[in-house]
């Protein structure tokens, strides 16, 4: 009975019928996601349709449950292994097809690695500036900073998941044995502005230090959202409580004293450390003649690592690859800069262990298809030759 059930399951999972169904679902999700993108933006659509196990697609008031692209691709992965490699008849006739299946599996694996093990962000520099970190486009974090001697800091970070659900009065409590205080975060707003509370300003939000959080609708361009959150620290020893508002656009942390030490708290884009420092020496922008439209732009940077310096030019199609990171020339600004104004250069930074997998997968698929169709062609030529009197 059990064996029969196992066989039945394998039968279903390895069938070409399931392959067709899954590919139809993928096409449907791509189509629906593309339509939805008009209203909700790329980031939200990616999360809802493509990085999910299930999705409820609304047609008017009716919600239609569908498998998410992540589930579809996971099942497709199993289907390809069982049907395309294990179940397939082994022989010269199917060698090309098997190789092609391996290539598709590699593509799916690349997608998995990108989804779960890659990070991307940017570092933005004016000439003369340097950085050893890059910032996420979409994710936020709260950093607790302790002032140390010699310009150094000790930093403890809470990821967005720790506080993003606390959009009301129930606070998220952050604790650590390393800290002499606890941190409470509440009224998280994914997109907001911080306004001073004047006599004419009406709000139901807490007013702290004369300011309050004014939540705004979520922007379709997700990276344009600026988060804000209320914060309180309570001294573990004396129980003294201090409150403030953290705002994503603040340039400096909120400073407070606990014990005899100075601490800072800030809400910022999730920050990743690079194993090297990039210093922007020169940014070059070339415009089309008589137009303000840039023709090309590039950054001459110095890469500092392990006490050595290396000059590198990063241009639009010439990224810098180092230590598993890829730095692309992404953009520049400010867009309203006047002639002679200093410009900044934005370098997109990607850490994707599978960034070359699609290339390898395409090569494997191409080899598989060449094998398969070469054999078919040879067979066809031979059959035609036999027919020729």
């Amino acid at each position: 009975m059990a064996m029969r059930l196992i066989h039945r399951v394998i039968d279903v999972l390895s069938s070409i019928g399931l392959s067709c169904t899954l590919l139809i679902f993928l096409a449907l999700l791509t189509w629906l996601g593309t339509l939805e993108q008009v209203n909700t933006g790329l980031f939200e659509v990616q999360k809802k349709y493509f990085e999910s196990l299930y999705v409820i697609h609304h047609v008017g008031p009716v919600g239609i449950p569908l498998p998410g692209a992540m589930l579809v691709m996971a099942v497709l992965f199993v289907n390809l292994i069982l049907g395309g490699i294990v179940r397939i008849r082994k022989g010269a006739a199917t060698a090309g097809i098997m190789v092609t299946h391996v290539g598709i599996l590699l593509l799916l694996a690349a997608g998995y690695v990108k989804a779960y093990h890659a990070v991307d962000g940017h570092t933005t520099l004016y000439e003369g500036q340097a950085s050893n970190t890059f910032d996420s486009y979409n994710r936020w974090e709260v950093a607790i900073i302790e002032k140390l001697d010699g310009g150094r800091v000790r930093e403890t970070v809470a990821p967005q998941e720790d506080f993003e659900r606390h959009e009301d009065l129930a606070p998220a409590q952050l604790v650590s044995d390393e800290l002499p205080f606890t941190v409470e975060l509440w009224y998280y707003a994914p997109n907001a502005r911080v306004l001073p509370k004047g006599p004419m300003a009406k709000t139901n939000m807490p007013v702290i230090e004369g300011f309050f959080i004014d939540p705004l609708p979520i922007e379709m361009q997700h990276e344009q959202n600026v988060a804000a959150v209320c914060v309180a620290v309570t001294d573990k020893a004396g129980g003294k409580r201090q409150e403030s508002i953290l705002y994503g656009l603040s340039r400096q942390p909120w400073s407070f004293e606990v014990g005899d030490k100075t601490w800072g708290l800030e809400l910022r884009r999730e920050q990743y450390e690079m194993p090297f420092t990039v210093a922007l020496d020169d940014f070059t922008k070339e415009d089309y003649p008589r137009l303000n439209m840039p023709k090309a732009f590039s950054s001459d940077v110095t890469v500092l690592a392990d006490g050595s310096k290396r000059p590198v030019k990063i241009s639009m199609n010439e990224p810098l690859r180092k230590d598993g990171l890829v730095l692309y020339q992404a953009s520049w600004g400010p867009s309203n800069a006047r002639p002679g104004d200093p410009l900044f250069s934005t370098l997109a930074v990607v850490r994707n262990p599978a960034d070359q997998y699609p290339l390898y997968a395409c090569i494997v698929i191409a080899v598989g298809l060449v094998l398969h169709f070469s054999r078919k062609l040879g067979k066809h030529i031979r059959s035609q030759a036999q027919k020729t009197p």
Partner: protein, 459 residues
């Protein structure tokens, strides 16, 4: 013939798939059930079991490229003027009072008193203090702080002059600029008038005036600039001087400032030139024949009139252009964004107007295709531009384009045909647009070409 998928799995005799389509509904149902089951389970798995989160381990490092300023007040952290904070009213910004600024470059914050009637704007990139002068949005005043010497005094003064279409001053003339004590240094004071072309050279505003202070120092430089229509600026010179004098670092200052308690203005005479100001006009006239304050006193319109007079009695013009009016054309009323408007044909059914934009105006093809959009005509490509008729206009080569009304037109009814003449100048874009009933417009084609050929830009 079996497909590769239909081969048996090892020795396990599996049923083959006779028709994928026939079995598809079962897989759809299975997938949906799996998705729903997972979906029902997921929220429970992902929900935090507690509101208390254990923080990750700390790390010690030296932030590179960032300078943390401990103790930054909330107002500065949130990028909001201290008046909004201390005064307890957002409306205070427009009513005059004390303000403050700070920046993340480690420069000490500044405080100031906004002149009465001026409207304070949010700080912006390169604008640490930012105002509409006398509430007139054409006139701006702002304070800029840059690191180091910001390229030097000469480069910055001449950048301002370029914005006013004035020739650059030489080193000796820059050195001769009057100096005023400002923010603990000796700032160069300037007062220029000319034809405003904006920061990027994409504007064309005659009769503008720029008054500024430039304090260039090796470690940090500050610039206070007021620019706008000459009449507005002329009325606000005392306010500008008062604003300049009010900037201070906040030491010993209480934020209860009112216009009555604001610092006394700098001793600048009503005409804006300090008592010891050299005759800039003389300097400019010696070095450059155009764009002098003398010329500006009469306005750029005077220059246009002069150019027109030189070109002949039948030549008309304004501050920017001269042209010859074709026979039978009647000049219409002036409108914004138009250099001149004409009507022609029976019942003045044909309208023709000239537009001069700064920069490229978006480019030749983009503008033609904008017209195509208005007329509902198919968009052109770069290749379509090649066979267009060429015409000499404004000292360069222009093109004549003919567009017929098509479906989806947004242009008013009656605009069945568009004839346009366009040319790209080094710093501007010139457009002549002739629209109306098809036959009437076609009858004006030669007149349009002659009109386009007669156009000259006043330099």
């Amino acid at each position: 013939m079996k497909t590769a998928h239909e081969a048996p799995l090892g020795r396990v005799p599996l049923a083959l798939t006779p028709s994928p389509l026939r079995r598809a509904p079962r897989f759809v149902a299975a997938s949906l059930l799996a998705a729903l089951a997972l979906g029902a389970a997921l929220p429970g798995c992902d929900e935090a079991s507690s509101d208390t989160r254990q923080l990750q381990a700390s790390r010690v490092y030296e932030p590179i490229g960032r300078r943390i300023r401990w103790g930054t007040p909330a107002a500065e952290r949130h990028g909001i003027s201290a008046r909004d904070f201390a005064g307890g009213s957002m409306g205070g910004a427009a009513a005059g009072g004390a303000g403050s600024m700070g920046d993340d470059a480690g420069v000490a914050g500044l405080h100031w008193s906004t002149p009465t009637g001026w409207k304070e704007r949010p700080a912006a990139m390169f604008r640490d203090a930012n105002f509409f002068v006398a509430g007139d949005e054409r006139a701006e005043c702002y304070l800029t702080t840059l690191g180091g010497d910001a390229g030097g005094l000469e480069a910055n003064i001449n950048r301002w002059r370029t914005q006013l279409s004035l020739p650059p001053l030489g080193a000796a003339e820059i050195a001769a600029l009057p100096r005023l004590p400002w923010l603990g240094g000796s700032a160069a004071s300037v007062d220029f008038s000319g034809h405003w072309q904006g920061m990027s050279g994409d504007q064309a505003e005659p009769d503008y005036r720029l008054v500024g202070l430039a304090l260039v120092q090796p470690d940090s430089s500050r610039f206070l600039k007021m620019v706008g229509p000459a009449d507005v600026i002329g009325r606000e010179l005392a306010a500008f001087a008062g604003l300049a004098a009010s900037f201070h670092d906040g030491s010993g200052h209480e934020h209860a400032a009112t216009p009555a308690s604001a610092p006394q203005p700098m001793p600048m005479p009503p005409q804006g030139l300090p008592p010891d100001h050299p005759p800039i006009g003389a300097v400019q006239q010696a070095g450059a024949p155009t764009g002098t304050p003398g010329a500006a006193a009469g306005g750029a319109a005077a220059g246009g009139a002069t150019a027109a007079a030189a070109a002949g009695a039948d030549v008309q013009g304004n501050a920017s252009l001269t042209w010859r009016t074709p026979a039978g054309w009647t000049r219409g009323p002036d409108k914004s964004m138009r250099e001149v408007t004409y009507f022609a044909g029976a019942g003045n059914a044909v309208e023709c107007y000239v537009t001069l934009l700064g920069g490229s105006g978006g480019g030749l093809l983009a503008n033609i295709n904008r017209w195509c959009g208005q007329l509902g005509a198919p968009a052109l490509t770069e290749a379509d531009l090649v066979p267009l008729q060429r015409v000499s206009m404004a000292g360069t080569e222009g093109v004549i384009v003919r567009l017929e009304r098509g479906p989806g037109a947004t242009a008013p009814a009656g605009q069945d045909l568009l004839l346009g003449a366009l040319c790209m100048l080094p710093d501007r874009a010139l457009f002549v647009k002739l629209t109306g009933p098809a036959d009437a417009v076609q009858a004006q084609r030669d007149a349009l070409v002659q009109f386009a050929q007669s156009l000259q830009v006043v330099r």
